[in-house]
Amino acid sequence: MTDSAPAIELQGITKRFPGVIANEDVTLDIRRGEVHAIVGENGAGKSTLMKILYGMQPPDEGTIRLDGAEVEFRSPKDAIAAGIGMVHQHFMLAEQLTVLENVILGSEPTTGPRIDLRQARRRIQELGDRYGMDVDPDVLLEELEVGQRQRVEIIKVLFRGAEILILDEPTAVLVPQEVEELFKNIRELTEQGETVVFISHKLDEVLEIADRITVMRQGRTVATVAPDEVTSRELAELMVGSELPTPDTRQTQAGEHVVLSLEGATVREGPRTTLDAVDLTLREGEIVGVAGVEGNGQAVLIDVILGLKELAEGRVRYGDQDITDWATRRRREAGIAYIPEDRHHEGLLLPQPLWENTFLGHQTDPELTRGQWLRPDAARRRTETIIQRYDVRTPGVDVAAHALSGGNQQKYIIGREMVAEPALLIAAHPTRGIDVGAQAAVWDLIRQARDDGLAVLLVSADLDELIGLSDRLSVILRGRLVAELDPSVVTPEELGAHMTGAAVEDSP
């Protein structure tokens, strides 16, 4: 599958941003027809490198060669013209258009002034047949599931004549079954002579699909290896440059005291029932995991507990009190802590200094306020405590929240919630988008919270995280809890089967 000149050859690529070297002397060769994985932590420089390759940013130094000839991309247009296509992690698709319309958008085949739909349909059909990706061109995008949408993105890129496909974290949004499906497609693509650049930090997947793997660390390429030469642990150590921990071993005793219980909790939004008769009990000292494909009601469940969404039916009990009608603030005052799924969206006031962020969610904490008055000095002291106790790396409490890295922001948020000594912790995707080192720290903090006697509700899309941390595991599907599993015996594949509804009936 290899021949003389590599399809892509990057040499000495360096890219600096103010204060940061994103790529330094990166050298990489990608052979035609191979699946070449690029792995590295967040911030290792993968995205920058791909942006350079796709013409979104010019490198400061270094050369790009395609089939031996030096090229210079001024914009993605140049890259597309040279046969490079990018499938972004966040799909660039319009929900209200059909698959066909989405695919041709921006490169419509025309006869005279008219869009030649017939030709477009034929070409999509051809691409589908050739690469084994059948998608009905006339169905609306909003009716498709995530895996199918991704296929549309790939077809879109192929439609533009790409021979080299860059897939940016393509499995981040997929469940295991869909990942298998994607891998089949990728193999089909390379058999037909396409080249695939696969960016990921999920090492097992990379080992399964890649022909060669290049590891990046702190902006540099540190090694290129073949998957049969390394284990996933060795790969991970190449990535972080050191030994690393895993989410493992539980030794918990869940208490008897019930902290939170939902009884037949039902939420209706318009004609849809987004949460359907959910019964859930959380005891002190246990972590209850909720697994599910995104959009199956996890967010609604959290909103219900926080009082952000109203119940159509059912009750919420907290300790021995019925809090169904309580406002959010009252619930938070009563000791419900929240680590939101998207820290920028729900967890921080980004332009404000850290010490002001410490008030967020604790505006009525008697330690931080006196009547209606805020106590900045108390907030600053508490922020110092959080920084020390939770190892938040920051120049100080006056720094705006946006200046911190994702991992440090997350540690800060966890610290902010934990120092208020809550009784219930809701953690939504607590390690999403943070690097391996901080991930381990976050896992430890959540486990610590459990050991301190908190009830923890863990919602996550990371199956290893769910299995590794949870004491009990529930699966949510279309707004219902469809299965309760024992995390000490369940495998990610079984969990995935429940999440997609493939195994509803034969759960243990």
């Binding site: 103010p18 959010t328 619930r331 969206h345 921080l348 969610g361 505006q363 911190l404 440090n408």
Partner: protein, 382 residues
């Protein structure tokens, strides 16, 4: 970077640059119209820095400042109250009528007028808040519409109920006006203070005492916004509404409260000329203060001191432009300065803000250094 250096950098560099730019653009306009910018600006400066002019500048700045504060309260939570114009005009008409209708001991009389004005402004603005939370009407639309209703409602009330009858108004044709507010309802001037410093004001000119109220409201604004739970909730809602809600802020109640408060402050806008100069509402009562207040709030970045400077600048420009007519120079050049300065200051703030942010990120990433396992003993200690 220290907090103060940051404040200074952002809050001074940008407006100064914008001001220079605005004067450059106006100079070009002057040159095109065949006038010497040097003469024009020199005359403006010379005239504008006379004692009379300074007093007049402060008098003009007071309503602008209150108007800017009203707008800023909305801005702080991401609400765009364009209705200050309607709110203050309706409030002024009703307050003028109420003030003339009663007689009370001096401080009570003034307090009553202030309370009426704030109540009218607050209620009027509150309508927009209620429409937003119950019907989802965007406040920009509703406040603009409410402006028109306020103008006409004000005119209707004025000509049908509040207007002074001719037989009471003396002889001759007069412009319509409300009855005069009695002495006890007038806000004392600060002339004794000016004179205490050895300055002599020409007769008929007075430094309006309402400037004290404006300063108090400015200080209260800062305290409430920065030092109270309400202010925190307000700002949190403006910066990141979902985060505010997750933290326990009742978004709907917050919208209504912010709009009512904004309108209440807007109600004060017309009181400085009303209680300090006209003592009655007339057909030629000053208009446009609400819209100019938006510009001042933008100029001062919703900061009480910044807006005070902005209001004084606008007051200065409008006062000193009066001399241009005498020189045969179109005074509209001042409008160009005002317009350009607001536009360019918004751009300049953004540019400087980005620079500072980048610098901060750099500083932070230095501290965070080579995580995750970096020994970094020095940093760990901090």
């Amino acid at each position: 970077m220290s907090k103060w250096r940051r404040l200074l950098l952002v809050n001074l560099t940008a407006p100064v640059a914008a001001l220079v730019f605005a004067f450059a653009v106006s100079s070009i306009a002057l040159l095109i119209s065949g006038n010497s910018p040097i003469t024009a600006f020199a005359r403006m400066w010379e005239f504008g820095t006379r004692l009379d002019s300074i007093v007049s500048m402060v008098n003009k700045a007071v309503p602008l400042y209150l108007s800017a504060l009203a707008v800023a309260i909305g801005f702080k939570m991401g609400l765009f109250n364009i209705g200050v114009e309607g709110q203050y005009r309706l409030a002024a008409v009703v307050a003028a009528a109420a003030g003339a209708a009663v007689t009370l001991p001096a401080p009570l009389h003034i307090l009553l007028i202030i309370a009426v004005a704030m109540a009218v402004g607050g209620v009027w603005s509150g309508i927009a808040g209620l429409l937003k939370v119950t019907r989802g009407v965007h406040e920009v639309i509703s406040t603009i519409m409410l402006n028109f209703i306020a103008f006409n409602l004000g005119a209707y009330l004025f000509s049908n109920y509040f207007r002074e009858r001719a037989e009471e108004g003396g002889a001759g044709v007069q412009i319509p006006k409300t009855p005069e507010i009695p002495e006890s309802g007038r806000f004392p001037s600060l002339n004794p203070l000016v004179e205490a410093f050895g300055f002599e004001l020409r007769p008929g000119l007075s430094l309006q005492g309402f400037v004290i109220i404006a300063i108090i409201v400015g200080i209260l604004y800062w305290l409430v916004v920065n030092r109270t739970r309400f202010g925190f909730d307000l700002r949190a809602s403006g910066i990141n509404a979902p985060a505010a809600q997750a933290s326990g802020v009742n978004a709907k109640r917050m919208v209504v409260r912010a709009m009512v408060l904004s309108g209440a402050v807007a109600g004060l806008v017309g009181l400085s000329p009303l209680l300090g100069f006209f003592y009655r509402y007339t057909l030629d009562f000053e208009t446009g203060l609400g819209f100019t207040g938006i510009a001042v709030a933008l100029l001062g970045r919703n900061h009480p001191a910044g807006m005070a400077l902005g209001a004084l600048l606008f007051g200065f420009l409008s006062r000193s432009s009066q001399i241009l007519d005498l020189e045969g120079i179109p005074p509209e050049v001042v409008v160009i300065v005002q317009g350009v300065v607001v536009l360019s200051v918004v751009v300049a703030y953004e540019v400087v803000e980005r620079m500072v942010r980048r610098q901060e990120a750099r500083a932070a990433s230095q501290v965070m250094g080579d995580q995750p396992q970096g020994p970094a003993p020095a940093e760990a200690a901090t």
